[in-house]
């Protein structure tokens, strides 16, 4: 009964909200709306009150070849040019105008929305994991099991260690467990924070290719720096008929390409999944605003559907957030395990 009441209340709210929106006659630019949400920006846009955007200015740190380092808050750029820099119309990045009139991209180390989101997620991660680790200092782990956050962290660590790392990496899994666990928790936290719709969540951190590239690179290094002799022999001189490796090294070339496609697939998989999830949720929400022009009835009913669809997609994304973190960790473990395989004895 209470459930029904809340549904009716939601419908009424939506109908009135759409009627209100209609009066204002909102016209949406879908492309700007979606890319503004999933992309990076120099400020953290929170909401708009009465048509005026409310956003947190973030520090811009740039190094120009001609004028050196510059550091200022991004709200200085709202009026246009500041210290010779402005935001490009085409790329949305900070550029400076060269003497010949062309736009030149300076070396840009600004704390953008994604960097801040990343910092927040990482800080949260470090705090929670150290909290869990600190629990064992205060309690006797042999006599009682942790509850709350330490319990959750312990459960996830147990699960990833036993189900993924131990099985996939093999006998010296303990050497790689810290990296793999860090990668798992890092991706998981940033994924989940990404689907929190308000500050300080909502930055599309793991749906940004730069982030996933660094993660994939770390896995690449973990795989190839610690690979054993057998692993490298299999790349450069695999067990195939001799004409496949000499005189033209067909198989070695394929193996070397495979070396790079593995982390590349890791990078693209995480990036594409998270980006697609964000876009799907944004689209579901956008339905409410796009149908404003069709009148309050269609707008209201579609709004209800959109809200339920949005809830469904949020739940799905929550699942995907976990699955992608799990998959990244599992594939990294498998790749590391493959680089540690002992030759089969016959």
């Amino acid at each position: 009964m209470r459930f029904l009441k809340s549904i009716i209340a939601a419908i009424l709210l939506l109908v009135t909200a759409s009627a209100f929106a209609q009066e204002k006659g909102v016209d949406m630019d879908m492309k700007a709306y979606i890319f503004g949400h999933v992309g990076d920006s120099y400020e953290w846009h929170i909401t708009a009150i009465g048509g005026r955007p409310v956003s947190i200015p973030l520090p811009v740190i740039v190094h120009s070849r001609t004028t050196g380092w510059h550091c200022f808050l991004s709200n200085k750029l709202e009026e246009g040019e500041y210290e010779g820099f402005h935001i490009s119309e085409t790329s949305g990045k900070i550029v400076e105008t060269a003497p010949d009139g062309t736009e030149v991209r300076p070396f840009d180390m600004s704390i953008t929305k994604n960097v801040l989101g990343l910092m927040f997620g990482s800080l949260l991660l470090v705090v929670l994991v150290l909290w869990a680790a600190g629990w064992y200092k205060k309690h006797d782990g042999m006599k009682e099991a942790p509850t709350g956050v330490p319990g959750l962290v312990e459960m996830l660590v147990t699960m990833i260690t036993n189900d993924v790392i131990k099985d996939a990496v093999g006998k010296d899994y303990e050497k790689f467990a810290p990296y793999l666990l860090t990668a798992f928790f890092f991706i998981l936290f940033n994924n989940i924070l990404g689907i929190v719709p308000f500050f300080p969540g909502g930055a599309n951190v793991t749906g940004n290719i730069a982030i996933t590239m660094v993660l994939a690179l770390c896995t690449f290094l973990a795989v190839n720096l610690f690979g054993n002799k057998h692993y490298y022999k299999d790349i450069f001189w695999p067990d195939v008929p001799i004409f496949l490796k000499a005189p033209a090294p067909i198989m070695p070339i394929i193996e070397i390409i495979g070396l790079f496609t593995k982390p590349f697939s890791l990078m693209v998989r995480l990036f594409a999944n998270m980006l697609a999830g964000h876009i799907m949720i944004l689209c579901a929400v956008a339905v409410i605003f796009l149908t404003v022009k069709m009148g309050p009835l269609i707008n209201g009913s579609l709004g209800v559907i959109a809200v339920f669809f949005g809830i469904f997609l949020d739940c799905l994304e929550f699942l995907v957030a976990f699955i992608q973190a799990y998959v990244f960790t599992m594939l990294s473990s498998v790749f590391i395990g493959l680089a540690h395989q002992e030759p089969e004895t016959e």
Binding site: G39, D40, D108, L125, V126, T161
Partner: protein, 168 residues
């Protein structure tokens, strides 16, 4: 499209942040948790094994206990049986002894009675003899005036004596 071109600034920040996070967590975070999880699972395994052993030991003890009780019962029964037998033996012996004693007493009594009778008979015979001698004396004094009668009497006496001798 800016979505698929990695941004250099973000790469630098990400590398830096991830390196710091990795350093902190790999040094102070996960090893502590992993070690505790491992220790605990070892302890649980240990405890389970110990519990198993204790259970086995307990069942062994129970079995032993049961066997001991059984042994004791059997022993008790044996002892009781032996005691009963011993009691029966003693009673039997006592009865035997009593019977023997009684027989002996009766025999002794019989012998004594026989003796007494014999002695009494001897006394009576002597008394009778003396008496008869006395009577005979008197009779003889009175009758033995004639020789004829004397001889007659003497014969008769001798006959009688001989008869008495035979009869006794």
């Amino acid at each position: 499209m800016s979505l698929i071109t990695p941004d250099s600034g973000l790469i630098i920040w990400m590398t830096l942040i991830f390196a710091i996070v990795f350093f902190i967590l790999a040094k102070f975070g996960f090893p502590v948790i992993s070690k505790m999880i491992k220790d605990r699972s070892t302890k649980i395994e240990d405890s389970l094994r110990k519990a198993d052993e204790a259970e086995k030991r307990l069942s062994e003890l129970t079995e032993e206990h049961r066997r001991m009780i059984e042994d004791t019962r059997r022993e008790q029964a044996e002892i009781l049986k032996e005691a009963a037998q011993a009691r029966d033996n003693i009673i039997e012996q006592a009865r035997q002894q009593a019977q023997d004693e009684a027989t002996k007493l009766v025999d002794e009594a019989r012998v004594r009675i026989e003796n007494e009778r014999e002695a009494a008979l001897r006394d009576i015979r002597r008394e009778v003899a003396i008496l008869s001698v006395n009577v005979a004396e008197k009779i003889i004094r009175k009758d033995l005036e004639s020789t004829d009668a004397q001889t007659q009497l003497l014969n008769r006496l001798v006959d009688e004596a001989a008869d008495a001798e035979i009869n006794s």
